[in-house]
């Protein structure tokens, strides 16, 4: 009971703050949209098809959704560092709610926001000629949420150890951009140079973006095609990928809960 209340109150406050901050909503989707339309329009003609009837813009669309979710979910960590900087974290740490539940609440708060932003991007699907059904959406939502929770808890974990805003932001840049660029968001996973192949396979975001792409672009029987990851000579299924992402997510969130409880 105590734990649920903690998760809920922390989640609620982050949502409330986000609601007050409409600029953040707009600014955080302009960058991905710029990417989608500028890169998409600029490169589509040259890149040819990257799947059955799939041009470059359509190919990167799921990647852009994944990128939006990933970048937005990292805000969980920023929010912890921010609260520490402005003193509010002390109010939270002396409150009679467990610290593990604070870590979870922070993660879920930013994951909710990330999900909303991912959905906003999804609304642009018709503009680039991608169609999806209600049942696709039903599979997509939990998948996006899982990606957001897994990477959001990584942000929280880092925030328990990296105290200053400056250091945290620097770490985030160092982590976030490689994670986005080496996730297959913008290119097919086949035929990569060996070093890149290894990094892509080690990147947890890869296991969120591949299934998102498969579900958005590859489930229509007319367009059926595999965008999945090839690991040790085996092509994974969507479920394999989700399982790998989930295992990563569970480990990181447990670490984040533990680390949050053991900080001064």
């Amino acid at each position: 009971m105590n734990h649920l209340r903690g998760v809920y109150t922390i989640w609620y406050r982050d949502i409330l703050r986000f609601w007050h901050d409409k600029m953040r909503m707009i600014s955080s989707i302009t960058f991905p949209l710029l990417f989608l339309f500028v890169f998409g329009s600029g490169l589509s003609a040259r890149m040819g098809v990257l799947g059955p009837g799939i041009d470059f813009t359509q190919f990167i669309f799921p990647g852009i959704i994944g990128m939006t979710v990933l970048m937005s979910s990292f805000m969980a960590g920023v929010s912890v560092v921010w609260d520490r900087e402005f003193g509010f974290l002390k109010e939270v740490l002396v409150a009679p709610i467990s610290r593990a539940s604070v870590a979870v609440g922070k993660t879920l708060g930013s994951a909710t926001v990330a999900l909303l932003q991912g959905l906003l991007i999804l609304l642009f699907a018709p503009l680039i000629g991608v169609s999806f059904t209600a049942s696709t959406l039903l599979v997509l939502l939990p998948l996006m949420f899982l990606l957001a929770v897994s990477l959001g808890s990584l942000g929280v974990l880092l925030a328990t150890r990296i105290r200053s805003m400056e250091a945290f932001q620097a770490t985030m840049q160092m982590l976030m951009f490689p994670m986005v660029f080496l996730s297959g968001a913008f290119f097919p996973l086949q035929g990569l140079p060996a070093w890149m192949n290894i990094m892509v396979k080690f990147n947890p975001a890869t296991y969120g973006i591949a299934p998102i792409r498969q579900i958005i672009l590859g489930t229509d029987p007319n367009l059926s095609y595999s965008y999945n990851i090839n690991l040790f000579g085996q092509t994974l299924t969507v479920w394999n990928e989700v399982a790998i992402l989930a295992i990563f997510g569970v480990i990181v969130i447990l670490l984040a809960m533990w680390s949050f409880s053991n900080q001064e």
Binding site: L16, F88, L89, V92, V94, S98
Partner: protein, 327 residues
């Protein structure tokens, strides 16, 4: 044996080399207004942080209402209210939202929540501003909001860490009115730290702390008896010679106090006229006063507590300013 609400036994806190709290023991009774007095860096905040479960002690133990602050953290947290030395509000939310958050976290029953919030916001005169974001509040308003928040869940013990630091005299008085009123009405135990002497005098008992060590603990009245005598301050055109003359004539060691001297005598009213008649160094001005806690502190530590004050306020200002800039 009496029931103590706060019990501290041989508490030590080390930060690598530095001993911030050095083997402190004391008890606070239920309903007491207990003051922790000491200069900047004495270890007051560190002690409060240990008592409110934010920092783990290096050794020793502390109990709040019989509950151990290390092993029974969550029960202790429910019992205490806090006003931190540094701001701890969510500036992006309104005053009302800050209090609602607090009520939720401390499970204040929904049936009394709104009514209590209204009552407290009216008490600290922020009811009209309740929908404004905390960002727009002045320093004094923020402090008052924090005080209201600290009381919202009816804590048994309220910790106030330098609650009036950096505030103007009017706001300081206002905050003191609330604190004294609260104590009268609810019988809340109040643990307060300050380095303002005049504030410490309002406490039932005071502990004086310096370099992490507890050097005295008693009622303000009894502490002043340490100095037991009246204090004469004087300015002369040659302080060194005057000090020498006082030593020779009365066998009293005078202390340098700012650009003057001061010394203690048993019966000031009778001493002063004689002194003025027979003293040969030229006196520029002279005053006689009853001992204050300043004198007690000076006597016990050989230093003035006031010296740091200006410096300290400046630091607070710079810090708050710096934060604003970074945003």
């Amino acid at each position: 044996m009496k029931d103590y609400i706060i019990k501290v036994e041989n508490l030590v806190k080390r930060f690598s080399e530095l001993v911030a709290v050095d083997n402190i023991s004391f008890c606070v009774e239920q309903g007491e207004l207990f003051g922790f007095l000491g200069p900047n860096g004495a270890g007051k905040t560190t002690t409060i942080n240990i008592l409110c479960t934010l920092t783990k002690p290096s050794s020793g133990r502390a109990l709040i209402d019989g509950l151990d602050v290390v092993r029974q953290q969550s029960q202790v947290r429910q019992l205490i209210g806090l006003v931190f030395q540094d701001p701890s509000l969510d500036e992006r939310l309104s005053g009302l939202q800050n209090l609602r958050f607090h009520a939720l976290v401390y499970s204040v029953p929904a049936s009394v929540r709104e009514q209590r919030i209204e009552q407290l916001l009216k008490m600290v005169e922020l009811w009209d501003k309740r929908h404004n974001k905390v960002q727009t509040y002045s320093g004094g308003m923020k402090r008052r909001l924090e005080l209201a928040r600290g009381l919202l869940h009816h804590p048994k013990v309220l910790f106030l860490d330098e609650p009036t630091l950096g505030l103007d005299p009017q706001t300081r008085n206002r905050i003191w009115e609330y604190v004294l009123e609260l104590r009268q009405r609810e019988g809340t135990t109040i643990f307060l730290t300050t380095h303002y002497m005049d504030e410490a005098e309002k406490a039932d008992r005071i502990a004086i702390i310096d370099y992490g060590k507890l050097i005295a603990i008693d009622t303000p009245g009894k502490l002043k008896k340490v100095v037991s005598k009246d204090v004469i301050s004087l300015k002369t055109d040659d302080n060194a010679r005057a000090a020498e003359e006082i030593k020779v004539r009365y066998q009293i060691e005078a202390r340098h106090d700012g650009d003057g001297l001061c010394f203690e005598v048993n019966n000031g009213e009778e001493f002063l006229p004689i002194f003025l008649k027979e003293f040969s160094t030229k006196i520029l001005n002279v005053s006689l006063r009853r001992p204050s806690l300043d004198d007690v502190f000076l006597k016990l530590t050989g230093r003035e507590i006031r010296e740091e004050e200006v410096n300290d306020q400046f630091k607070t200002m710079v810090r708050q300013h710096g934060r604003r800039m970074r945003r």
